[in-house]
């Protein structure tokens, strides 16, 4: 326990008897229409503990936390603080009770400075005059105390994502939060930033705060959790020990055995099918978003483009399809120059395209499943401009069956399907055509683990047919599951193209712009196998630490 004794009451309470300082969610139930989002979920948050809440997208994790934070009211059950029932009608009351939330999408005002953001909502000052000096002083003190380095005068929009997150954390801490909820905090971070965040979370725990860490990423959970609660379809399916293996956790999360590794034989690489030279894309406001990119993708291999969101990968994919114009460069597919071709011609030439935001440009929501399954090759289902409705229907019936799309009928609007099923519709449409190149951006974003496995398998099958596959993904789990080669992008440039066997640590450095050779030199491990060993060692140490006397001391 460091200097925290100065203010947060949590630090003091932690030392007293077991019931005090504990926040208990007792049989919380929340119903939306016919959907039971939370079904009698109980959870204890104890000081000095990192409690991982593990579950798939849509399992009800965020709903549960929104009730804790006063954004939603429970339909049943109660919240007990220090043994006494409490009700939070709004976030203000929750904050006053010592609950802090670090949101997945930061709740910061972009054009305000760090200091302004942190005092937002309870501005210091007299007579309506904001005392910015006091605010700045507060930020400096806090960032020193928690070793979260930020410049109080920097504008939030100018800061990297990882630092913006620090501001969110500081904001929660400035309200003396005893219970800190991190909602999918690592989704936007590089591996190095994730490591830093984990350090911060550990420090906060050691200070006696209760941490809730919401995630669906298994490897992070094992590295830092003191306790793990798994939620599936709104119910607590059980607690797991941090020593549990990734596949055990995945099985609890999904409800059946899932294979985390994609079954995949070594790539049978043919000649290069996609050749990109000097591709440059300039955004409408004049910023170069793709900067002189050279890439080759061979038939029968999967090239993954890795990088932190917003480093030009999306624009690269869109420029390959032609929906975003390239200001320079050449794109050739099977020797044919398509640099100036319309999207229609490129699709006809055998490009398949899975956009990163399916709702935005992947399908027409109010069109039926059947209509969406022919959206970009409707000509193949028409004679002299007239639709062959029977063929469209039977095509849809075959594909929904093949891809296991859960829908009432093929006449159902796609908008009413779940995210995973919508993604299956998009992938089914692309894979149902003969392709020479498949471009897929974030092919499994927002899709649950069971469906991810299935979709990955399909993509590998497409590769094995001799198609060139280009995957854009910000999830390193996905990259390592699928890639035969990895291209890392940073600020519109390809930093390097490396083997699939490259460690996350090296990839993470490259994602921050460090050239490959330098990254290899400064990284502690360079291959996946070494990294696995290191992780297992860390987990073992962590587990030993939990069982050993150290834990007792911290709680006593």
């Amino acid at each position: 326990m460091t200097s925290s004794s100065a203010s947060p009451p949590g630090g003091d309470v932690a030392g007293t008897d077991a019931g005090a300082g504990v926040l208990r969610l007792d049989r919380i139930t929340k119903v939306f229409g016919s959907l039971v989002a939370n079904d009698a979920v109980s959870l204890d948050l104890r000081p000095g503990e990192i409690h991982c809440l593990l579950g798939e997208n849509g399992a009800g994790k965020s709903t549960l936390m929104n009730q804790l934070y006063g954004l939603l009211q429970p339909d049943g059950g109660e919240i007990l603080l220090d043994g006494a029932p409490v009700r939070f009608a709004n976030p203000r009351q929750a904050i006053d009770a010592g609950i802090g939330m670090v949101h997945q999408h930061f709740m910061l005002v972009d054009v305000f400075s760090v200091a302004e953001n942190i005092v937002l909502g309870r501005e210091p000052g007299r007579g309506g005059v904001l005392d910015l000096r006091a605010a700045r002083q507060l930020v400096r003190e806090m960032s020193e105390r928690y070793r979260l380095e930020v410049d109080p005068d920097a504008r939030v929009e100018d800061l990297p994502i990882g630092v913006q997150q620090r501001v969110e954390i500081l904001k929660a801490l400035s309200n003396d939060a005893r219970f800190l909820v991190f909602d999918e905090p690592t989704a936007v971070l590089t591996p190095q930033e994730t490591d830093e965040l984990i350090e911060v979370m550990r420090a906060l725990r050691d200070e006696g705060r209760a941490i809730v860490f919401i995630t669906h990423k298994l490897r992070e959970v094992r590295a830092i959790a003191d306790r793990i609660t798994v939620i599936r379809r709104g119910r607590v399916v059980g607690e797991a020990a941090p020593s549990a293996s990734e596949s055990e956790l995945a099985e609890m999360m999904v409800g059946r055995a899932v294979s985390l590794k994609v079954d995949k034989t070594p790539a049978q690489v043919a000649g290069a099918r996609l050749e990109v030279e000097h591709l440059t894309v300039t955004s409408p406001d004049g910023v170069v978003v793709v900067d002189d990119v050279d890439l080759q993708v061979a038939g029968g291999e999967i090239l993954c483009v890795a990088g932190v969101q917003g480093n030009g990968q999306s624009e690269l994919a869109e420029a390959l399809l032609g929906v975003v114009p390239a200001s320079r460069g050449r794109i050739r597919l099977d020797g044919t120059d398509l640099s100036r071709a319309t999207p229609r011609r490129r699709l006809r030439a055998g490009m398949g395209f899975v956009p990163e935001d399916r709702k935005y440009d992947g399908f027409v929501g109010s069109f039926t499943v059947a209509e969406n399954l022919v959206l970009n090759h409707v000509d193949a289902f028409a004679d002299r401009g007239l639709l062959r409705l029977g063929d469209i229907r039977s095509h849809a019936e075959t594909l929904t069956e093949q891809f296991d799309v859960r829908t009432q009928s093929v006449e159902t609007p796609v908008a009413s399907l779940s995210g995973g099923n919508q993604q299956k519709v998009v992938l089914a449409r692309e894979l149902s055509r003969p392709l020479s190149l498949l471009i897929a951006s974030q092919p499994t974003r927002g899709v649950d683990v069971g469906a991810i496995e299935f979709l990955h398998q399909r993509i590998v099958e497409e590769r094995d047919k001799g198609t060139a596959v280009l995957i854009v993904s910000t999830e390193l789990d996905e990259v390592s599951a699928l890639a035969d080669r990895i291209a890392v992008m940073y600020r519109g440039r390809v930093v390097g193209v490396v083997d699939a066997d490259t460690s996350r640590e090296v990839l993470g450095l490259m994602m921050a712009g460090v050239p490959h050779e330098e990254a290899v030199r400064s990284a502690s491990v360079t291959t996946v196998a070494e990294e696995e060993q290191k992780l297992e060692a860390e987990v073992a140490e962590h587990v030993a630490d939990l069982q050993g006397p150290g834990t007792g001391e911290r709680r006593a």
């Binding site: 440009d361 399908f363 027409v364 959206l375 639709l387």
Partner: protein, 393 residues
């Protein structure tokens, strides 16, 4: 056949039908209040509201019931009133189909008025300038009218597709241009009737007049309107072009990513919409009036068909069947309004107020459902059928 009827019935948007019916009732109630308030004799009776309530209430009832009785009699009370309704409805249906089709392509086509005006001009000019054999003359006149409308709509489409000019602004301006062009043309020798000083054109040749059923107002125009509705349905539901237009209208980003050309879809939709509105103008110019010959072209011939068409398309949810029904409804109000004026001494403008109220209530279903509590209670299970189309699309 009964199976088909049952399928159509099942697929009808019953919630929309219900909301529309309620909008009707509300509009007529408000209309009744307006009639009472605007008649000094009736409102004078209200001085006796507390001493002799039968006097004001009786007078009000008398006023309202006679007006609405005339409205019904003039629109659906017999064969001739019915054909009057069809004659009034036909141009509204055509122009409404054009506006609705543009809606579904994601375009707010306010230009049906201008497109109808140029359609009327072109067809009338062919009608009174050229002298062709029977049949052929009518065919040529109709075709020229539709082409003129298509060109007028197409200008807006091309400007939108090539230069990104907003179609609302462009079509409004084209409306002014069309109206001004007509006024100017009627002062030139090409259009003005020889020997007349006022802006009026010669009478259209008999060969270019739409044939009608003798003794009624049912003429070819109504048949063309129904045929146009069927064609539009076929285009939108059965053709690749319609599939593309709908995709672009509902999600232009997805359409573009799917290799569709948003600009050609925009131009195509505006061409067809213009042709349909042009056909509405053709009916005004070539359709026989009560006397059996077409009304000669003048500044006010087209009336406000193009603007009423927007309300028709809104009420019909941009769907062909809905547009036909909405067009018939407005046609009935027009026809009945004339009767109301002559028989019940109530201003025909009241029907315009009724139309506006109906559209207001339909366009704001939330208002209707709040006003009528029983619908509100049933709203939850019905949300799945919330209509798409109209302005929202």
């Amino acid at each position: 056949m009964p199976e088909l009827v049952r399928r159509v019935l099942r697929r009808l948007p019953w919630r929309d039908v219900l909301v529309t019916a309620l909008a009707f009732v509300l509009a007529f109630l408000v209309g009744a209040v307006l009639m009472v308030v605007s008649d000094p004799e009736v409102i004078g009776q209200y001085a006796y509201l507390f001493t002799a309530p039968q006097l004001p209430l009786g007078a009000s009832w008398e006023k309202v019931s006679s007006a609405y009785a005339a409205l019904v009699a003039g629109s659906v009370g017999g064969w001739v009133p019915l054909t009057e309704t069809t004659a009034q409805a036909a141009p509204l249906i055509c122009a409404g189909l054009g506006v609705g089709l543009a809606f579904r392509a994601g375009l707010f086509n306010i230009g049906a008025q201008g497109q109808a005006v140029v359609g009327a001009m072109a067809s009338a000019w062919v009608g009174f300038t050229w002298h062709l054999p029977p049949g052929l003359h009518l065919l040529v006149a109709v075709t020229f009218g539709m082409l003129a409308g298509a060109v007028w709509g197409g200008i807006a489409g091309v400007l939108k597709a090539r230069a990104g000019a907003h179609e609302v602004i462009v079509t409004i301006m084209l409306n002014y241009i069309a109206t001004g062009l007509l006024a100017f043309a009627l002062t030139t020798t090409a259009f003005q009737r020889p020997g007349r000083a006022d802006p009026i054109s010669p009478v259209v040749d008999w060969n270019a007049t739409m044939p009608r059923l003798e003794g009624s107002r049912l003429h070819l125009g109504f048949v063309l309107a129904l045929a146009a509705a069927v064609l539009v349905w076929f285009l939108m539901e059965r053709s690749v072009a319609g599939f593309t237009i709908k995709s672009v209208g509902l999600n232009p980003h997805a359409a573009r990513t799917a290799g569709m050309s948003v600009s050609s879809s925009t131009v195509l939709a505006m061409l067809i919409a213009g042709a349909l509105a042009g056909l509405a103008g053709v009916q005004a110019a070539l359709g026989p009036n009560v006397s059996g010959t077409p009304t000669p072209l003048s500044g006010g011939l087209v009336g406000s068909i193009g603007f009423d068409a927007i309300t028709v398309a809104l009420l019909g949810r941009s769907r062909p069947l809905g547009t036909v029904l909405a067009g018939l409804l407005f046609g009935a109000l027009h026809a009945g309004g004339l009767a109301m004026q002559s028989q019940a001494q109530t201003s025909a403008e009241l029907t315009t107020v009724l139309q506006a109220l109906i559209v207001l209530f339909v366009a704001a279903p939330a208002l209707v459902t709040t006003v009528v509590p029983f619908l509100k209670a049933r709203r939850a299970p019905l949300t799945g059928t919330t209509p798409t189309g109209g302005l929202s699309s």
